[in-house]
Symmetry: C2
Subunit: 318 residues, 2 copies
């Protein structure tokens, strides 16, 4: 980031829109840079490519307001967007946050801002700009900007490659299932939905050690394996018995359909040092399958027994 003026050195105009922006800037302090001009200005490190993505969290579609505190909503929306940079093994340069604020969240704007700030600070990055509008439903659209010398993509797997997953799965799916059944999810499962982590450092570690393709698990392991396989033009053979499940969960098929995990699916030509990964990040890295020829498609088994493909989900149908 270049020598932008301090955000508070460019005063904003009058009115509710600017009051909202000023309120957020006062919470963010030094986490926000250069806000107040028509656009943010930053430098991409020489030799790196720019990596950019946008993600939306809409009340009633991606979460229900009763499930999460405003602070968690802000944190989660920005973290989900940052997870796309992790999937590309990019370092974050900053985020832009477009907020559609319904009346209750105009009141809770400080908490929303704090959650956004938490996510940005956890990722070691900055808030570069944004937009505020009134609305009937809360919506946070986060643009993430990152840099990478050699970004990872979904294309790059060959038959024989090893497929790994970070962390333990099933928490978000279990939490949403509990809420939808009118139950209270366990604290662990709730935390995996409300406070996910973008695996930014983990992804760069893996890219440095030979990962050749990656995707973050937003649609569920089964659906995202399919995206990876289709993009790389390979099949993938997955042993559900190997899936790392969150404590207290036993249904690998449910875990394979659990979306918004924000763990990474990584392919590597050679086996990775999972013990070293776990010592470094206090997080499991688990070999769950192998890439196969395209004709074999994405196939699930439990040890030697074939299992039907777990279903993912579709944002538009929810």
């Amino acid at each position: 980031v270049t020598s932008e003026p301090d955000p508070k050195s460019i005063p904003l105009g009058a009115g509710l829109e600017f009051d909202a922006i000023r309120g957020m800037l006062s919470r963010w302090g030094k986490l926000a840079v250069g806000v107040g001009d028509d656009a943010a200005v930053l430098d991409v490190p020489r030799g790196d490519s720019l990596v950019a993505s946008v993600d939306t969290a809409l009340e009633g579609r991606h979460f229900r307001s009763g499930w999460l505190t405003p602070r968690e909503i802000g944190y989660r929306a920005v973290t989900a967007a940052l997870s796309d940079l992790a999937a590309m093994a990019a370092r974050p340069l900053g985020v832009l946050v477009a907020l559609n604020l319904s009346a209750p969240y105009q009141v809770a704007i400080t908490e929303l801002a704090d959650g956004i700030g938490d996510a940005v600070e956890t990722a070691g990055t900055r808030i570069l700009g944004g937009n505020v509008s009134g609305a009937d439903a809360l919506c946070l659209t986060t643009t993430v900007l990152g840099a990478a010398y050699a970004p990872l993509g979904r294309v790059g797997l060959r038959p024989g490659d090893f497929i790994y997953v970070t962390g333990k799965l099933g928490g978000p799916g279990a939490a949403v299932a509990a809420w939808q059944a009118g139950r209270t999810p366990s604290a662990d499962h709730r935390a995996r939905f409300a406070r996910p982590t973008a695996r930014l450092r983990e992804a760069r570690w893996l890219a440095d050690r030979g990962a050749v393709a990656a995707i973050d698990i937003s649609d569920g392991l089964a659906a995202d394996l399919e995206h990876l396989a289709v993009a790389s033009d390979v099949g993938i053979d997955v042993d559900l018995a190997k899936l790392p499940l969150l404590d207290g969960l036993h249904d690998a098929i449910q875990a394979a359909g659990s979306g918004e995990e924000y763990e990474l699916l990584i392919g590597a030509r050679d086996q990775l040092d999972t013990a070293e990964f776990e010592r470094t990040f206090y997080l499991p890295l688990t070999l769950v399958g192998r890439a196969t020829p395209r004709e074999e498609g994405v196939r699930f088994r439990r040890r030697s027994e074939r299992v039907a493909k777990p279903s993912g989900y579709d944002h538009l149908s929810r």
Copy 2:
């Protein structure tokens, strides 16, 4: 833009969300690049800074669905966002489009996509990525990425600088006033609201010829002059008798409150060659005022007679 794979070479998964994306990609053809990975990858020209901004167009807040065709909605949302790059005198590198689609617009997605494509093609840029979600109200959030060796900002005016405006003002305000009064706006006024132009080439021409600060008119000339003055820590003296009004309009105070013009307000140390600008762009460039010491504030007059400050508008209060 680097050698991303063709968008259609990375097939997308199944489901309505991906059908919507595929439908848009088929309309965009070569206008879309690299879509299908977790994030877009692009190169910023060496020596240039990255310029980034985000803008939201929300049904019921920024426009009403009866006012505009779906194609116009798509065009206008992306053009409004690109206008922020013009205000920085940046060249566009590409856009990311996050769409919240209500049911009627899921049906009209082809027209929306064509409007987005029109805006991107007019600006000579690309669609780098996006996001699609179902929603109760249509919302387009556009992130624009650009590059500039020396971006213009709002900071940079000194007392004595000359203040210019591009184009002719008042059309969008007159169109919205007509709609709100239940009348049909004139075709000219409607076109200025429905088909604005981001003054991208004009801004770079002006920056090359000595412009020192700029802003695009989104909140209305009066409000945006205030933003420019406050950011630069100067006053501005404006002669409303000099405001360039769209044909058929006579009320300079209304025109000074007309938002979403997407014309440029430009400050320059020396007088600019307005005749050369008009010959180049077939668009007027009009001297409307001078920067003054901060203590004098932003003042409006009609020739020698003081006039009360025209009011702008506030997105949250609408």
